[in-house]
Amino acid sequence: MTRLVFARLLPVWAVLLALLLGMIMVWFAGANPIQAYVELFRGAFADVFGFATTLVKMTPLLFAGLGVAIALRGGLYNIGAEGQIYLGGLAAALVGIYVHGLPSLAHIPLAMAAAFVAGGLWALLPITLKLWRGVNEIITTLLMNYIAILLVSVIASGPLMEPGAPSPYTPPLEPSAHLPVIIRMTDAHAGVLVAVALAFTLHFIFARTRFGFQLRMVGANPSAAAYAGLSVSWTLLLAMVAGGGFAGLAGASEVMGLKHRLFEGFSPGYGYDAIVVAFLSNGQPLGVVAMSLFFGALRSGANIMQRSVGIPVAIIFAMQGLAVLFLASSLALRRRLATAHRGEQETRQAQVIVGPR
């Protein structure tokens, strides 16, 4: 019994262990660990510019994290969020640059819809190959990331490159396609509001609709779902394509809200961080909101911490990696313990009925 209580709290221990290791690293670097953590927290939340940075950093993680989470609920691994982000950014940039004379109220939704479609289409090939050819989606989505990154590079350094630009990027988007700033004098843009609204919508879809129920059933037990008469293939196809669309929105919000141009290599691996965010949230949309806020805050606060205490920002990536490693291990261990516990109980019940061997 005490073992089970310990097992319930495992994720808490995992995060505490990562924070403790982080403190040791700070101490090793010759700074005061408590002061460093205080600066980190203040940097992420207490200062208006820091908080704005937190929102900016969490937005792509939230959109893409939702994209990975949708697939995860159906039991699919979407490692291709990175590529879908690039395709979404590309589509949003094309609509933002070449469509003229629209009011913002039409231009913004149009560009975002284009990004959703582009990201979704980029996810269509991997899921098609999976369903009709049995090709592992982890492998195909990984390969397609590179094609997407290089494709954006071709376009941003070739046909669409701003004349005379020092590095590959396109001309700016029309102002009507810019996402509005939500905190004056900062970079914080409306993308985060759209992302949070979509997370609540997804939460509702998962909890209350037929599709949400089907997706959960297919993810938990595909053969039982098929036996119950559900179309497993169509459910998975829809989940993967919608997931690609959400990741595409992450690209759109970076381009339309932050950079206002399409840059070569504009995502520094948000798609991979999104996998971690979605997994730690167990595929729950509201959990993705909390996790992306947490990760965004760490990144924003780390910059302040580097300036005031002199600890390299890299420590954050080390702590994040360790936290995920411990968490993933502890969740798996908890499942193992629970299974073993259930097994013991069943054995005991069997002994009551049949008598000890």
Partner: protein
């Protein structure tokens, strides 16, 4: 063909071989791990740890060979950090791999800034090209293959050795059985967990060597995030090479040659985007998986924990 063009071609091919080596070493090791059913997304982090350990080892233990040894140990240890959660506990391999990459990037950068730089450790003793007698005098292959540094030769020797291991030995048979059908392998008396641990550790050791090539073969120092995605390219090479060590080596060469070629395209302005040659291997790998060009299929149990989770 003029002498000048000839020299240009030879230097391009030799540079292709150098660009192949880190991808190739990591890829042939990753074949072993994938054949056992573990997808090693953490390859990038293992390479980066190897690159860092190689510099530390070369400085403190005396010379590039000790650096290589340190890199192999580091890669192997990081691999065990992947193996314990994903093999023993059954945690999602992909998530653990991504976590390893994050942690390795963070830790090596952190240690570089707090340990190496303050200690003034920058350039260390590195590997130098060692021409092989007789072979290096052969036309074409001599200057391309046999005037390289020892890690290149190591790769050329290890790829066929691993091929024999995987396809011609009982251990190789056990490895493939575990990757295709762990339950059947278990029934046949094969220790699935042990095989997967050894396979993942092998992959880590090879990734460590690949990292050592970056920091001690290509350069003589560590730079932050110096793998720059090569671990993922190595995973693509495993797929393109159809989960075969020699295939993975050939695929790695395609990636290396594409890289060398795109440098030429950029330098001489050949009139088409330099990204196209870089894109080609990924497109070909996808076509192979889709069954359009040849056939290519992953080990059946790739990515799945064993024993499988009861829902």
């Amino acid at each position: 063909m003029s002498i000048l063009e000839n020299a240009l071609l030879l230097s391009a091919l030799a540079s292709a071989v150098r660009l192949t080596t880190p991808i190739g070493l990591a890829a042939i090791g990753a074949v072993i791990s994938e054949r056992s059913g573990v997808i090693n997304i953490g390859l990038e982090g293992m390479m980066l740890s190897g690159a860092f350990a190689a510099v530390v080892g070369s400085h403190y233990l005396g010379g590039p060979w000790m650096g290589l040894l340190a890199a192999m140990v580091a890669g192997g240890v990081v691999a065990l950090l992947l193996a314990y959660p994903s093999v023993t506990l059954g945690a999602a391999q992909i998530v653990v791999g991504v976590a390893i990459n994050l942690a390795a990037f963070g830790l090596t950068t952190f240690l570089d800034r707090t340990l190496l730089r303050p200690a003034g450790i920058e350039r260390v003793a590195a590997f130098h090209p060692v021409p092989i007698p007789y072979l290096s005098e052969l036309p074409l292959v001599g200057p391309v293959l046999f005037m390289q540094n020892p890690l290149v030769y190591l790769m050329l020797l290890l790829a066929p050795a691993l091929t024999v291991f995987v396809f011609r030995t009982p251990w190789g048979l056990a490895l493939r059985a575990v990757g295709e059908n762990p339950r059947a392998a278990d029934t046949a008396g094969i220790n699935v967990t042990l095989v997967r641990y050894l396979a993942v550790a092998t992959s880590g050791i090879f990734a460590g060597m690949a990292g050592a090539f970056l920091s001690l073969g290509h350069l003589d120092l560590f730079t932050e995030n110096m793998t720059a995605g090569r671990g993922f390219i190595a995973l693509a090479a495993v797929i393109f090479g159809k989960w075969h060590p020699l295939g993975a080596l050939a695929a790695a060469f395609v990636f290396g040659a594409a890289d060398a070629f795109q440098l030429l395209v950029q330098t001489y302005n050949l009139g088409f985007p330099y990204q196209f040659p870089l894109m080609l291997p990924y497109v070909l790998a996808l076509l192979a998986l889709a069954g359009v060009v040849g056939r290519s299929a992953a080990p059946a149990a790739a990515g799945q924990p064993y024993p499988a989770e009861e829902a």
